[in-house]
Amino acid sequence: MNSSVEGILPGRQGILRRFADALWRHPRLLLLLMLAPPVLWLGIIYLGSLGALLVHSFFSIDEFSGLINYEFTLKTYRELLIPANLDILVRTVSMATAVTFAAIVVAFPIAFYAARYARGRWKAAFYIGIMLPLWSSYLVKIYAWKLVLAKEGILNWLFAKLHLTWLLEAYLSLPLIGGNSLSVSYTGTFLVFLYVWLPFMILPLQAALERVPVNLLEASADLGGSSRQTFRHVVLPLALPGVIAGSIFTFSLTLGDYIIPQIIGSSRFFIGQAVYSHQGTAGNIPLAAAFAVVPIVIMGFYLWMAKRAGAFDAL
């Protein structure tokens, strides 16, 4: 044995090196240092302000003075249920539901293609194609859509060129979904919501489909399952967590948005706009808070239902 070689190397010098050694000896300290900033951020700043908001929804506003009455009451929630406010809730939830279902239908084939067939260069093209719209400003996209959907816009021009203006007009004369032009109809709002939130449905869906092993599809076919049966009994149940994840995005983003319905659509309020106007000019913070609680309750209920239906069993 060569005795000049030491078994333990000499301790390192300098404060930083000692600190690094100390972190190695105390892994919990390292964990604490890494977790502290996000916990402070999420726990205090985010959850704290959310809690303050929730508390406000149980206060009420004095109708004469316009001051907030800091006493526990359910009066504000009762106010949510007056017809004008209830209309806003029903309108927003219906829109969010329609957008979510449409997003599932549109996203599924795209996600399936990307997960199953796209390889190498095509896969890169897929990711860029999906992500690129997210890189440009949200407002620019919405105004671009306004130009597309307006009466003087590209879509009307296209219908005219195809001699199908009568079809568009017939559609616009329908109650509820129609209007003076697409850009001031619920259909327009729906199309823009669908476009803007679609990537948030495609990406989780694609991730879920990618995790479905090919041999499960083969096993289903082997046992007699046609493509349709394999889709229904194997692909869909296994992709369900992805569908749920995507629908959480599309549903909650639609519930909370206040810009799209303001620019495109029939100037009737959605929840987001109601919150915006009540906390702003009207100064009715309690009612704004009560409106803001609605999406939280709906999402909580939605997740609970999804869990009960077994949507997360495959995880």
Partner: protein
């Protein structure tokens, strides 16, 4: 007997790679047929053609006399036990097994009863409510087997079904599969890279190499009379003797194979050999010997006085144990 599966000049190419190259094959009805070969030799590709997961690039496949071209997997009366079992993770064991019946629209009570029966058949009763993920490897294997058998296939395909199991369990499953085969009387086609498994289980073995079948025969034929040095070496790692050596011993200028266990140690007037390695394997000891420049392996009983590395020994074998082969390489 009718052929359960008949291949004529079946090829399957992936770009320039010939995974299957003009394969002719006949599997008889009721047979336990093994497809043996190293990985990438085409045996699994061959199985996938029978299941219908892939279509041949050229050639013709018949299943019980009916052409299989363009017939999707779900219209073939053939079921598969997959290599990694491919159990549905979102279903419990009973629903996994009953899947084939559910697809065919059989009522719940009836298909669960059949599934319980199938689980009994593979000696796995009472686990129906568990998820596939909660089972051990051996149990999953049995569930996969029950699931494949529930549709009462005429041909059961097994793709390396025992590969992931440990030795003890594997030997037990080999026994049970043989019993199951006798009990059901249907055709089993079994893919494996383990020559012991193929030899011990199958009625007939097809040995694959580089997309071709190099020899088909009973385990005894394959073992005792290999056609080529590849077969001799792959099945039981036989010694391959070059023509010059064979000429000096047997007088014929041909390649020959000599099984390691056919070599015995003699006291004198055998071939002079030098021991370069001696590995104790329990009941026997494996020796590496050099006779001049020729390297040989020998299996000798451990009971006798076993030579150690560096010893010079005298070895011999019976003339009829030396099998002359058609080709060398």
């Amino acid at each position: 007997m009718t052929a359960a599966v008949l291949f004529s000049k079946v090829s399957r190419h992936y770009g320039l790679v010939k995974a299957l190259d003009e394969v002719d094959l006949e599997v008889l009805e009721g047979e336990f047929f093994a497809m043996l070969g190293p990985s990438g030799s085409g045996k699994t590709t061959c199985l996938r053609q029978i299941a219908g997961f892939e279509q041949p690039t050229s050639g013709h496949i018949e299943i019980f006399g009916e052409t299989a071209e363009g017939v999707p997997p779900f219209r073939r009366n053939v079921n598969t036990v997959f290599q990694d079992y491919a159990l549905f993770p979102h279903l419990n064991v009973l629903d996994n097994v009953a899947y084939g019946l559910m697809i065919r629209g059989i009522a719940k009570t009836e298909r669960y009863r059949s599934a319980e029966e199938a689980l009994d058949l593979v000696a796995l009763p009472g686990l129906g409510k568990r998820r596939a993920g909660e089972l051990s490897g051996g149990q999953r294997q049995r569930v996969a087997l029950a699931r494949a058998l529930i549709n009462k296939p005429r041909v059961l395909l097994l793709d390396e079904p025992l590969g992931a199991l440990d030795l003890k369990l594997r030997e037990q499953m080999q026994e049970e599969l043989k019993i199951l085969h006798r009990q059901l009387g249907i055709t089993f086609i079994f893919v494996t890279h383990d020559q012991n498994e193929a030899l011990s289980m199958a009625d007939r073995v097809a040995l694959f190499n580089q997309g071709r079948i190099v020899q088909v025969g009973t385990p005894q034929e394959i073992y005792r009379q290999p056609d080529s040095s590849f077969v001799a070496d792959f099945v039981g790692s036989s010694n391959v003797l070059p023509p010059d050596f064979v000429a000096s011993v047997a007088g014929e200028h041909r390649w020959a194979s000599l099984r390691p266990e056919s070599i015995r140690l003699t006291s004198s007037d055998g071939h002079e050999a030098r021991v370069t390695a001696s590995n104790f394997l329990g009941s026997s000891t494996r020796l590496t010997l050099y006779v001049g420049e020729l390297r040989l392996h020998a299996m000798v009983p451990s009971a006798s006085a076993v030579p150690v590395v560096g010893d010079n020994v005298s070895i011999d074998w019976d003339r009829q144990d030396m099998h002359l082969m058609e080709e060398g390489v």
